[in-house]
Structures are given as C-alpha cells and as structure tokens.
Symmetry: C2
Subunit: 493 residues, 2 copies
C-alpha cells in the first residue's frame, strides 16, 4: 500500500474486554469441553446449538426499558425495529427453544451445549465480555432423580477433566428447606413473602464475608458497613434469625446424618418436608452409584444468587491445599453450579415446565486446573523440515507427508529465510526435531536430524560434561528409510 | 406463574435468519470440523480464537459512514462511542491479530480457526445471518510453497471428511496471469488499471451463466440483459477480448500441459511470467506428494469474487453424477476456496505482509456431503432403562453406570410417566434397546431387554411370518451379570 495512505491507517486493536486465545489455551479448553460432552453424552443427553442472538423480550430479565437498552446485554435493533440481544447465558435460549418446539420434543428433553455468551459489563482482570459456558439441562422432569443426575454429572465432569477425588466437592442444598423454615417463622410461602425470601438469601450469601453477626444484622433490622452504607434488613424476629442461622450452619459430614439433623430444623412445614424428601431421593441415587459425601455433600450454606431457582441447588467447589505467601489456604471457590428452575419455560407457556441444570465457565475451570497443576500437555510440536535447497521443495513436502502418514505432525518451512532464520523460527515454535537434507545427502539417501531440546541442554552442560556430549549428539545422520523410526525414538512429548 | 400474567407472556420465537441446530447436524458438523482440524494440525498449524467483536474500522471494508452502519454487518456503539461490529469472516480478524502481535509471532504464522460469522443480510433458504466458517491461513510466507500447501490442505480435507477422489476437485488459477494478459493488451498493471481489471474479473465470473457471447459484450462496450438493465463494459478492444476469452477457456486436462499452453498466452509480461512460475512451483510440490490433476487442477476460469486476492486463487468444486428430474447433472458447485491476499495485513502495518489461506462454510459442505450420501451416522442411541418401580431408582442408576463403564451410552428415565409413556418416549428418542426390571426380576437377578427396532420390524411382518417371530423374540429375559454382553451382541449402530 502506498505511503499516502499512512494517516488513515487503522490501528490494530481489540475492543476492551475481549480476548484472543492462544493455541495452548484453546487445546486445553477443547479437551475440557470434549471431556464434559463425553460425560453428558454417555448419559444420553443430546447436543443443541442455538444462535447467538435472541429477541430481547425472549431473554426476559433485561427488557428494554429505554430507547437503547444497554445494561448487561449487547442489544441492537433489527431492520423490523425489534430489539435483539446477544445471549448472556445458555439457559434463557434453552427455555425459548423448548417453548418454541414443545410438542415436537420427547420429554424429558435433555441437552448439552457449549458456546460464547456475552455480557456488556465493565471488564476486569479475568473478567471478559465474551466467554464460553458449558451447560447440561433436563426439561420436563419434575422429580429429584433429574436433580440427582445433575449432581452426578457435575461430579463426573470434574473427574473427567482430570481432577482427583478430594480436589473438588459438589455441595447441594434445597431452596425448599429455607422456604419451609421461613414459613414456620411467619414468612408466607407465596408471592407476598417473595421479597423477604430474596433478602434472606442475599444475607446468607454473605456469610463467608461478614460472619454470623453481620448476617444476623442483615436478617434483622439492617446493617451499616465500614463505609457507612446502610443495607435494609429482612426484618425477621430474633427466633427466626436464630432458626435461619442454625440452618445455614447445620451441615457437616455425612449426607444421611445431615438429613436427620435437618428434619428437626424444618419442623412441620409441608414445603420443608418436601425438600427433605428430595434430598433423601438424591442421597439414595448418589449412594447407589457410589458417589460418597466426599464427592457430593449436602451443604445448607449454598445459596446460588439467581432468583429463578425453585428447589435443589448446588455448586462445585474446588478444594486445594495450596497456601498463599502468608500461609493461608488459597481459596479457588466455586467454578460452576446449577439447580432446579421450574418457572423459566412456563414464562412462555403459562403451564408448569419443570427443569434442572448444571453450568460451568470453561475458562474459569481451566485456570483452576492450572493452579491445581491438573493440566497435561495436549499436543506435540511438529517435526520441522528445513528448506536447505529450494530446488528440493517437492522432496521436503513428500518427506512431511511420509511423517504425517506415521501419525506425527510435520511442517515444511514455507517462509523465505535462510537456514539460520529457519532454526530461529523452529526454536520459537517450540520444535524438538528438525530435519536437514541437501543435494549431497539426498543422493546418499540420508538426512540430518537435529534435536533442539537436547542441543539446548547440551549448551548448558557443555563446560561441565564434555563426555556426555559426545555420547549422545544433538545432531545425527540417519538413513532416509530409517527416518520415521529415528523420529519416534527421539520424540519427547 | 399466575394467569394474570398471560397478556404479557412473551412469544417464544427466533430472530429471522438464525437457526437452532439439531443433534444430528451438530454431531456431523463437529466431526467435519475435527477432521479438517486434524489435517491442519498434522501440517503444524496451530489453533487461534479471536473474539466475535472487532472495531468497525479494523474490519475495514464496512466503515461506518452513517450514524448507525448497518450494511452487511451487525454493528453497535460501545460505551466509549467506538463502533464495534460482529466479524463477517475470519480473515479480517486474523489480519488484525497478526498486525497487533506482529513482533511476538514466529513467522510464517500458520493458524486454523472455526467459528460463527455474522452477516446482516436478507435471509433466504439455506442463507443464514450466523454461520460457521472453517479457515486455515499462512501469514508471512510470500512463496508459492505456502500456496501449494493450501491446495494440499483443501484436497486432503475433502478426503478427511469422507469424500472419495473423483467427488471433488480443487481448481487453481493465478490472478497474475490475467494481469499479465491485460498488461500486454494495454491495461496498465497498477492503480490506474484497477477498476478495469475488476470489471474484467466480474465479467469472467459470469461465463457459466452468460456464455462466451455475453461475457464478450461485458468485456467490450457493455450488455443489456433480458430485463432491460444495461451493464457498462470493460471497454477492451477486440484483440484484448479475444485474448481474455482465450485465456479463460484455455485449461483442460493435465497441469503440466496447461502450463505450456498458458506460457504462450501470457507472452512477455513480467507479471504473467511470474504467475506461470508460481503455477510451476505449485505443480512441482503437488506432484511430489502424489496429488494428481484429478484432485487439484489448473483452471483459468476460476476468478473468486473478492477484490483482495493478489496471486494464486482456488475453489473446491464438488462433482456429482446425481441427475435432477429432467436428467440434467445436479451442480453442487464450489463449497469453499481461497488464495493469496498480500495486502490485508499491510493495511495496518504499511509494510508488505504476504498471506494465503483456505476457507469453507461448514453447513454448506455438510449439506453437500448429505446430497452425495457421504455422511455416516455418528452416534448410537442410548440404552434406555425404564423406571418400572420408583423404589428401585438407585438400582436403575447403578445399572446405567455399569453400562456406561462398558463404553455404551445409557439413560435412566427421569420423567414421571408410566411405563407406556416411557416406551413412547424411548421410541421418539430413537432408542433400540430398553431395559425393564421390577422387584421380582431383581430378586431373581434378572432383567428384561426389549429390542424396539426388532419389535417394529416384527410388527410389520407379524401376519406374514409368525415363525420368525418366535425364533428371535424382541423381548428377552437375561441374567443381570450377562447384561452387558447381551446388549453388545444386540446393538445395531
């Protein structure tokens, strides 16, 4: 392009909050998604893909209330003036899909899906405006068997992605238990008590950060934080506060024992009793398939922020004995979760369509696996064929094909640099084995194989260990018909 | 949800031009992408993922020239007032990526990528506003070796996705040849001749539809079509028209022979001679790796619509002997293509950054494979475990785990229907084998296995072939410790 264009030259840059993914990350994420998919698939779930765009009113929670709705979602107006939004999760589009195709679907409809979701939020470190979620859901199954299966899937996916038992725990609660406890303390179990129930959930969710006293204040009159901000409380009476706090801290140890403890706390509330029965059903199935409390526990402190959950909820917690610089255990925390949401599809249909699901963020799980050293290298670098003599290009490509035929990756240098530049390129690419063949060697039926890893080691050891160097040279001449065997013998990854 | 909400209930519907993909399509597309990736990977290409959004000025061709640019792309204004667009292909984002990370990349940088691209266009049958492209590109390699590798990749991907040789052909041309011919007939090989060259390309692209006379008119003064619309011509003189038409219809048969023929046509033009040498280099490499003219031919009628190509260009044509109702051969046509585009990255850098690539549309290739009967079924339906007795749910889930452990898919019914409903569900799911176990059978260590495929066959044959029915019953009682073996023996897919 001519120089006169220079002032108008665009700057190559990404919109903030969006990322390019490197080869290693992509390979690791693909492997992780494939592992999860294979678990879902083995349970008879089927894949679904919905589009990136949905109508804004269909997504629901972010209805356009101004001319250009821009809070949380990316939205734009279509030619026909309807607002479209990029999906912010995979659950709302699933609800649309099921409602749209209701009669054509065999129910329970069980699907899995992974894909980019979009959040129009302020980006931060590790917080992107486009990221990949991986979900499995059952729609049309009201019973606890479907919830138990979700917990199984969560626990088995953690194993499938390479975690050892003890490095993760699925923690299950049931919204109905708290509903029951609140009901017996006077919070009505209907629309009227909805706001109060949500306030209680939000208060419990802060147990980790504020401790029992802080939560107690939020359950009662309210609480002023260090900055002087005042949060209105749920206005529970002291007995109710005691009951709620007693509930959230009730669980530890064995699932069977917790059920016995909880039965006492829940009392006579019908909804609470129904919640207990569901936990019993879940425990029954998990125990039958050999999933112990180590892998999937009951934990009454689990809340899940979203308002749409209606029954069993769970989170997957990653456990670690990594310590930070001050000797405190590093908390990786929840990498995903799910639960029952019986009202999402009925938004469209006006009839009950029970549903339950599990979702995790792919990058979040991947970076947790990295911190737990649970990632394996997933690919070998290609064997690199240098272009020593341009006239032999055809021969080099033929050699590469032979190597590929033996199941190895192989790359012919397609740039224009000389042999020094080519070796620099190979080095940056992380190549282990490079092949050099000139006219002379070709006529003798030979090639030179250079081991760049060994060469680098030797460069380090060269002063201290001259003998070792001569014993296993980093560069060897090999008969061409022995090449594949020689490569396989030397390959490190 | 209560009835009073009914008037506000949203309608479950998709924005027009967007599709939900069914399980079979997804599995087939994933397999197809995996096959292509494995070819790219074996050549030492590395995966890259860029975000869905790019700044509009970075994408280039669709600069916002009005308040809300909406021609071809989906665009919206970010919080900082910059226009962002959803990518319309994977090449423009690659150019941005390379320019942004230029010094950090080992070059040639060779990457592959598959992902959704978005076109804000009028949707039609088989024409979607979101669809998946699969690309491989080399950036930083000026020589014909990189182009030859692209042609190899295209031919090998067609094999990898299940096509037989003879069902596809990569057809290669070189823009430089036509540039050379035009130069020798007086069209200057610089900016001055750019518009005229583009008119010539567009005219040649219509050869199929208009025939030599129509194209001849478009190369000359111009042409009025049946509807009375007049298209201005490229204003070539009669000798030039003859030369161009002679060129576009020159190629047939063997690559080596075509090069000899073309040398005469191109004459003394330096650019034309350079184009010939590139074809020679490509032929040399393809011949060395055993890719015959059947798989990759030279074809001077190949144009590629895009203006940014600068050298070798190619298309992948699917061939078929399928005839339509009138006995005419069904033309499937081009399912992808590529070529050299040496100016795209230099848009950002102001220095030459040569590049070449190959791209195909995943759905387009898939539907072509379907028409060629080149698709295999890719998954088995799950073994279906009925819930005959709710009290045995744990046992059913345990049985499913055992079946999964043997590498089969297995599904426990998690809905609430009775056994009749469950069998209907199994039927709609395409299940072959269903398992029934009640309290009695369990105590005897037995299960019943029902073969739904066999049952359906028998239902058809029942009047004509009573004996066959009794010889191989569709329902059998099997000892539980023989279950896995019995399932494997019966499984059809």
């Amino acid at each position: 392009m001519s120089k006169k264009n220079k002032p108008n030259r665009p700057k190559a840059r990404r919109p903030r909050g969006f990322e390019d993914k490197s080869a290693d990350i992509i390979r690791a994420e693909q492997k992780l998604i494939a592992s999860a998919f294979s678990v879902y698939d083995s349970h008879g779930f089927e894949p679904l893909q919905t589009p990136a765009f949905e109508y804004a009113d269909v997504l629901g929670k972010f209805l356009p209330d101004e001319d250009r709705p821009n809070t949380g979602v990316f939205a734009l107006r279509d030619d026909d003036e309807q607002w479209m939004s990029l999906r912010y999760d995979l659950t709302a589009p699933l609800a649309r899909f099921v409602a749209e195709n209701f009669d054509g679907l065999a129910k329970p409809y069980r699907r899995y899906q992974a894909g980019s979701v979009f959040r129009n939020e302020k980006p931060g470190p590790g917080r992107f405006r486009e990221f990949v979620q991986c979900d499995a859901d059952s729609v049309g199954a009201p019973g606890a068997a479907a919830d138990a299966e979700m917990v199984m899937l969560a626990a088995d996916v953690m194993r499938a992605v390479g975690l050892k038992d003890g490095q993760y725990q699925v923690r299950v609660n049931n919204r109905k238990l708290l509903d029951g406890i609140l009901e017996s303390t006077g919070v009505p179990n209907n629309e009227e008590g909805a706001i109060q129930r949500m306030q209680v959930l939000r208060a419990i969710d802060k147990l980790d950060r504020l401790g029992p006293d802080g939560v107690s204040a939020l359950l009662g009159e309210g609480r002023e934080d260090d900055s002087g901000d005042y949060t209105e409380g749920a206005k529970l009476n002291p007995d109710a506060i005691k009951a709620v706090l007693g509930f959230t801290t009730a669980s530890s140890g064995d699932r069977g024992q917790i059920i016995i403890d909880l039965e006492k706390l829940v009392g006579m509330s019908e909804r609470g009793q129904a919640g207990i029965q569901e936990l019993r059903d879940i425990d029954n199935i998990l125990s039958a398939v050999g999933i112990s409390s180590d892998r999937a526990a009951f934990d009454t402190s689990i809340v899940r922020g979203l308002g749409y959950y209606t029954g069993p909820v769970f989170e997957v917690e990653l456990l670690t004995d990594i310590k930070d610089k001050k000797g405190r255990p590093v908390r990786i925390g929840s990498i995903g979760g799910g639960g029952r949401y019986d009202d999402l599809v009925s938004r469209f249909r006006g009839q009950a369509v029970p549903a339950t699901g599990f979702s995790f963020g792919v990058s979040r799980l991947l970076s947790a696996l990295e911190r737990l050293d649970a990632l394996e290298a997933v690919t070998q670098p290609p064997v690199f064929i240098t272009v020593f003599d341009r006239a032999l290009l055809g021969e080099y490509f033929k050699m590469a094909e032979d190597i590929r035929g033996a199941g190895l990756r192989a790359e012919v240098y397609v740039g224009t640099g000389n042999i020094t530049k080519q070796m620099k390129y190979a080095d940056r690419r992380g190549v282990q084995l490079a092949i050099i063949m000139g006219e002379d060697e070709m006529s003798k039926g030979e090639v030179t194989v250079k081991d760049l890893y060994l060469g680098a080691e030797m460069a380090k050891a060269i002063s201290s260990n001259e003998e070792w160097k001569s014993a296993r040279p980093a560069q060897e001449t090999i008969a061409r018909d022995q090449l594949i065997a020689a490569l396989k013998e030397r390959i490190k990854i």
